[in-house]
């Protein structure tokens, strides 16, 4: 099954009740699939007039307690940033699939990872965070999407699945029936569903004009983010024992790095990988487990170096950090990563 369609089906299995979106390449198979399968099952699908409108439809539906999803790609996610900030401010659960393409501007439609900042730093205003998963294969994307609504409901915060054009467009054999961990979800007693459905009057809002009140609200959000950091940070350590070098890579890039370290092993160079699965919260703790054998860290991205910031923070000056990046939709060959390790010293970031 194609990655985009698989993610769409996984969202349905995760309980999606409504989708609102706007066409953009390379994620169109998601709305196409959902337009048929949600409506067929009596659920909601609306093709909005813009990404701006779509994310606000998400706000509306999420305010009533529905499990709601939208998807888009780089320039489209840029347009959704206003709404994402409002969702976080109003503490609304929702699922956002972002299938990255090359930028800036209209850029191109080939796979890229240049929206790491967009996903983890956001372009929306204010102090907020998304919970961001960066799957490296379709199966992982499915497993995350199936529980994404639970995670969003658990923390009353939007969850983003950050894929790229390769994961969206490629095909792999997958299993949709892998079990999802059970979570005890808080009761949605805050929803605007009409006063006959709950006690008192509910309103869903992100406005707090009194600075004292707003500060308290943001403090509360950040207590929640601390919980997210504690409970949801995920990463994989690959071949880390006795590694001479450690590559840090996520998504499509980590797949390429897996091939690269096999080639390097044949050359007698032992290289491990730290693969962040959540990029917010960032798995800083993984860097504490880097063995003493390691001589340096190579951050590898399909961008000019965005996760690099988090790698340098996590490394905290302990080891030299080098960078390898391709961008604009260029997907590197494993040999390029091999070469980057062989010429590590030339790539060290000052």
């Amino acid at each position: 099954m194609k990655g985009n369609e698989a993610m769409a089906l996984a969202a349905i299995k995760g309980g999606a009740e409504a989708f609102f979106g706007y066409p953009i390449t390379p994620q169109n198979e998601i709305p196409e699939y959902l337009s048929k399968h949600l409506l067929e099952n009596g659920k909601v699908f609306v093709q909005a007039e813009s990404e701006v409108s779509a994310i606000n439809m998400v706000y509306g539906a999420a305010s009533t307690g529905a499990r709601v999803i939208t998807s888009s790609s780089s320039p489209g996610i840029a347009l959704k940033q206003e709404g994402i900030s409002y969702l976080c401010g109003a503490e609304l659960p929702a699922v956002i699939v972002s299938v990255m393409r090359g930028g800036p501007g209209l850029g191109g439609i080939q796979p890229a990872q240049a929206d790491y900042y967009q996903a983890t730093r956001g372009g929306g205003n204010g102090d907020y965070h998304l919970i961001v998963f960066a799957p490296e294969r379709i199966q992982e994307a499915i497993d995350i999407l199936k529980q994404a609504f639970d995670i969003a409901d658990c923390y009353r915060n939007p969850v983003m699945i950050l894929a790229d054009g390769l994961i969206g467009q490629m095909m792999e054999s997958v299993d949709f029936d892998r079990p999802v961990p059970h979570r005890d979800l808080p009761k949605k007693d805050w929803v605007a569903s009409g006063m006959k459905n709950h006690k008192g009057r509910n309103f869903v809002s992100s406005i707090h004009l009194d600075p004292k009140q707003l500060e308290q609200h943001v403090f509360k959000l950040f207590e929640k983010y601390d919980l997210v950091k504690k409970n949801e940070t995920r990463y994989e350590m690959i071949n880390i024992e006795n590694a001479e070098y450690v590559i840090v890579a996520y998504g499509t890039m980590s797949r390429i790095c897996r091939s690269a370290i096999e080639i390097l092993a044949k050359k007698g160079i032992n290289v491990g990988i730290i693969r962040p699965i959540t990029i917010w919260p960032y798995p800083t703790e993984a860097f504490d487990k880097i063995p003493k054998t390691a001589k340096g860290i190579l951050c590898a991205e399909m961008s000019m170096g965005q996760m690099l910031d988090d790698v340098r923070i996590a490394n905290n000056g302990r080891l030299p950090v080098a960078f390898f990046g391709r961008t604009g939709g260029m997907v590197p060959e494993p040999e390029e990563l091999v070469d980057a390790i062989l010429h590590f010293n030339e790539r060290v970031v000052k």
């Binding site: 409504a18 909601v44 007039e49 439809m57 539906a61 009533t64 569903s193 009409g194 006063m195």
Partner: protein
């Protein structure tokens, strides 16, 4: 003792924050009474917008959402599509609806979303301090058209009801005003009809209300009411622009 008049159950006890002579209060009352009379307070979800009515979620005694600037009709679409059994209305000013939110509004109308839009047209940006609105009249002085609006520079006042009337998804559309008791009564009837149409699943309904902004217009409340009557209605004629319930339609 008989109660002849009391505050509608559709309003909370929060004191209104609107300026003296502003017609938001009257229009809030009409929406609130409509909800009460139709017995729908407990299943209505309102959407507050950005502008002076940003706090309307504190005044309407029903469940409310607060939308980003211009996005109320998109949020209303999201609400109504997943909860068609609820009554959904937006309450938006002219900057919100006719400028930044015209795409959201026109497409909600075109989809025939079964929602009711209360559109407050006071020909100015009130909340931000009196800047030119898309509905500002030619010659009208604002803080961003200090010598008066000039068509060649600022464009012409946008006539929302005239633009929306031909759209297929619009079931009911009327422009009313609140400058004297007779017109307030007419405005109430229009708002009630719009909500009733929504209850009958007829499609998109919008009531444009010509409203005052004495503070930013630099007028007394009475002069402001008169200005709506004599000047605004010349550019924005009152009347029913669309009624799908009408057999002649």
């Amino acid at each position: 003792m008989r109660v002849k008049y009391q505050k509608s159950a559709g309003l909370t006890d929060a004191p209104l924050t609107y300026c003296p002579g502003c017609t938001h209060g009257i229009i809030h009352k009409l929406v609130a009474e409509t909800m009460e009379e139709l017995g729908i307070i407990d299943r209505t979800i309102g959407i507050a917008s950005v502008g002076c009515s940003v706090f309307s979620y504190e005044f309407f005694n029903c469940d409310m959402l607060q939308a980003p600037h211009g996005r109320a009709c998109a949020q209303a679409t999201g609400v109504k599509r997943v909860r068609p059994e609820n009554i959904v209305f937006t309450y938006q000013g002219d900057g919100d609806l006719a400028s930044i939110g015209i795409a959201e509004t026109i497409h909600a109308a075109n989809r025939g979303e079964n929602i009711t839009v209360i559109f407050i047209n006071n020909a100015i940006y009130g909340m931000t301090g009196g800047q030119m609105a898309p509905t500002t009249l030619i010659g009208q002085k604002t803080t961003t058209s200090q010598d008066g609006r000039v068509a060649a520079i600022h464009g012409n006042p946008i006539k929302i009801s005239e633009i929306f009337a031909p759209i297929e998804g619009v079931a009911y559309l009327e422009r009313v005003a609140a400058f004297d008791p007779k017109h307030v009564i007419k405005a109430k009837a229009a708002i009630k009809k719009a909500f009733q149409y929504q209850m009958e699943n007829r499609g998109f309904t919008m009531i444009e209300v010509l409203a005052t902004c004495p503070v930013n217009w630099g007028k007394t409340p009475i002069d402001a009411m008169n200005w709506v009557k004599t000047e605004m209605t010349k550019v924005y004629p009152l009347g029913v622009f669309k009624d799908k319930g009408d057999n002649n339609e």
